[in-house]
């Protein structure tokens, strides 16, 4: 049985007199200990997916339809109290910006101890011992002293390490990391990712890594979902998606990477912007920006189909593939 099984998840936002769809019929699975990347531009619905999985959508967002089966139990329909038992305990989340994630008026120790005591019957001293062990695992120097410190006394990289340690406090089965290094210095980003990968592997923790960085996804994950305007448009093994993307959007993303362009040349960008959620085009949401677009793309929504090694939602994937291989052989 898979650890997490998402079926037809639809998230909507209640506006003044209508609703907009932020996530549209998302389905995917995650095996125990598997690492999954979710990539896409800003506004594609990556973070909303993360928060929906924790059942932490804040108003006006709400889960409209679908199931989130976590070890067979449906999170989408759980009561707050039931959900509280899972959050931080069996499913932990790492937020984007470590500078604002920790509470500025509570010490590191208080914030770690409260998490442990919320889920286990422990004395404060016992909880502090566990906290020190976990801080040591993320290579925090002199962890005993850190417990008495406030967040502002520590650097961003240090804080994110502490947040990773907090995520591991109760040995969860799944960690959801929402762009965990975007707010950090470039030199620290790689360290943090390496640490996260190492800990997930050694503790056999499942990871959902939300990011816009394809490079990070290729290093960190086994499978990848590519999202666009609240839909999954391509899904499959990370290696296949990076080396042989099928959807024109994924191809565009990969071609836009600086490594794909000779030095001094203009980067190949995808023309246009992602549609706003209030004005998603009928048919394929990517059609206005797609260079392979045909008439039926604008009217009929493509369903995901198995193609090559991936699942892809594109009407023209056959033709595209043919043209590309002709190009290569020519």
């Amino acid at each position: 049985m898979s650890l997490l099984s998402v079926r037809d998840l639809t998230v909507k936002f209640a506006m003044r007199d209508n609703t907009v769809t932020a996530l549209d019929n998302i389905s995917f699975d995650l095996a125990k200990g598997e690492r999954l990347g979710i990539v896409g531009e800003s506004g594609a619905g990556k973070s909303i997916t993360g928060f929906a999985l924790m059942n932490l959508l804040s108003r006006p967002g709400f889960i409209d339809n679908g199931k989130i089966l976590f070890e067979g139990e449906d999170i989408a329909n759980m009561s707050d109290a039931q959900m509280r038992g899972i959050r931080g305990n069996r499913m932990a989340m790492i937020f984007q910006d470590p500078m604002v994630t920790l509470n500025p008026v509570l010490t590191i120790g208080q914030q770690m101890v409260e998490t442990l005591m919320a889920h286990r019957k422990l004395s404060k001293a016992e909880a502090e011992q566990i906290a020190v062990v976990k801080l040591r695992e993320v290579y925090i120097p002199s962890p005993e002293e850190r417990l008495a410190q406030y967040p502002h006394e520590l650097s961003g990289g240090m804080r994110q390490r502490i947040i990773i340690a907090m995520a591991l406090l109760l040995d969860p089965e799944l960690i959801i990391a929402d762009e965990p290094t975007t707010a950090l210095d470039v030199t620290i980003q790689a360290d943090i990712m390496e640490l996260l990968l190492e800990l997930c592997q050694s503790n056999k923790v499942g990871l959902i890594l939300i990011t816009h960085d394809l490079g990070v996804v290729s290093q960190m994950t086994e499978r990848t979902l590519v999202m666009y305007a609240g839909k999954i448009i391509e899904a499959g093994r990370t290696r296949e998606i990076i080396n042989d993307p099928q959807h024109p959007y994924t191809q565009g993303l990969i071609n836009a990477l600086p490594q794909q362009t000779k030095p001094g040349m203009r980067l190949k960008q995808i023309p246009g912007n992602m549609p706003s959620l209030t004005a998603i085009p009928a048919g394929c949401p990517f059609s206005p920006r797609c260079e392979y677009v045909r008439d039926h793309c604008r009217t009929t929504r493509p369903e995901p189909v198995q193609y090559a090694h991936v699942e892809v939602a594109c009407h023209e994937v056959n033709r595209l593939h043919r043209e590309n291989s002709e190009e290569q052989s020519a």
Binding site: L56, G85, R87, N103, L106, T107, E114, T115
Partner: protein, 326 residues
């Protein structure tokens, strides 16, 4: 910490100097002190002589330094009406006013936190809307009108509470008369305290509500939820502590302002405190008493603000008092 304290004390002294200068400058513009002292039957020559004797013909600077020198020794002049040192007159009235401010502060602190937190957590309930509505009314109505309305309702119509005076007071610590020792004292201080709190309480409810709502949107509150922390702890430990930081700063200033507001409340309730005394002093053109009152109130203001800043430094871990002294 010590360096910061010294720095703050110097700032406070500077502010007090400015206040004394303003207070003293007013003195010169409140009319001829001789008229109050000797009446109309004294001849102009005698008046001139008296002026010389009292030093009223000296330069402004000379008079001001003399005033400052006396003030430093606790001499703020002699009240024309009471024929007593002005400071003594004020200090006798001080307990009544401070107890009134204390009563109002207790009401404000006791009610604003639960009401502010409740209206922030459940902004859409009927009760929240009612609280917010009443708070607007409270802010809009002037203190003296609220006071008169309360006298009308609770003293005249229902006859539950006394409408004026301090009632039975008990002397403690030698000089201090307190209202809080007898039931009659409590009954007398309730209405004036409520009236004094009537503007600040709604202000604080709204302030706490606004701050709390902002804090509840913060990433660290979301993160606390994601860790599975109980709502009670999120509201009262994670959110409230952060909410109260700005509230403390505003609160300190408001306590000082309340001392000034007592003029209205004390007048309506015939409360024998400094505010009531000040109004009488103005009516009698008792200049030394007026100036002394201004300086004492200014001192209370500066004192509360300094104390509040120090408390803020202790509550907020990101303020490092030791480093701020440097």
């Amino acid at each position: 910490m010590l360096a910061y304290l010294v720095k703050r004390v110097f700032q406070a002294i500077a502010v007090m100097l400015v206040i004394s200068l303003v207070g003293f400058a007013i003195q010169d513009n409140l009319g001829d002190p001789l008229r109050e002292l000797v009446g109309q039957s004294v001849s102009e020559e005698v008046r001139q002589e008296l002026r010389d004797e009292l030093g009223l013909n000296d330069s402004f600077l000379k008079q001001y330094t003399r005033f400052l020198g006396n003030a430093l020794q606790g001499d703020l002049g002699t009240s024309y009406f009471f024929k007593e040192p002005a400071l003594d007159v004020i200090l006798k009235k001080l307990p009544a006013t401070l107890e009134l401010v204390l009563g109002a502060t207790l009401i404000i602190v006791g009610l604003s936190v639960p009401l502010g937190v409740y209206t922030a957590i459940k902004p859409n309930t009927i009760l929240s809307r009612l609280i917010m509505g009443i708070s607007i009314v409270g802010i809009s109505i002037p203190v003296f009108l609220t006071a008169i309305l309360m006298i009308f309702v609770f003293s005249v119509e229902f006859g539950w509470l006394p409408s004026y005076g301090r009632g039975d007071v008990v002397t403690v610590f030698g000089h201090w008369d307190t209202n809080f020792a007898t039931l009659d004292g409590w009954a007398h201080i309730l209405l004036p305290s409520l009236a004094l709190a009537s503007i600040m309480l709604p202000l604080f409810v709204r302030l706490i509500r606004a701050e709390m709502m902002e804090v509840l949107q913060s990433e660290y509150v979301k993160y606390a939820k994601a860790k599975g922390i109980r709502p009670f702890r999120i509201y009262f430990v994670h959110a409230l502590k952060n909410t109260l930081l700005p509230v403390i700063t505003v609160g300190g200033v408001q306590i000082g302002t309340m001392v000034a507001y007592t003029i209205l409340t004390e007048t309506v309730f015939q409360w024998p405190g400094m505010g009531f005394m000040f109004l009488e002093a103005v009516n009698r053109v008792d200049t030394p008493l007026i100036v002394a009152y201004l300086i004492v109130v200014g001192f209370i203001f500066v004192l509360t603000n300094t104390v509040v800043d120090l408390i803020y430094g202790l509550v907020n871990p990101t303020v490092n008092l030791a480093r701020m002294g440097a």
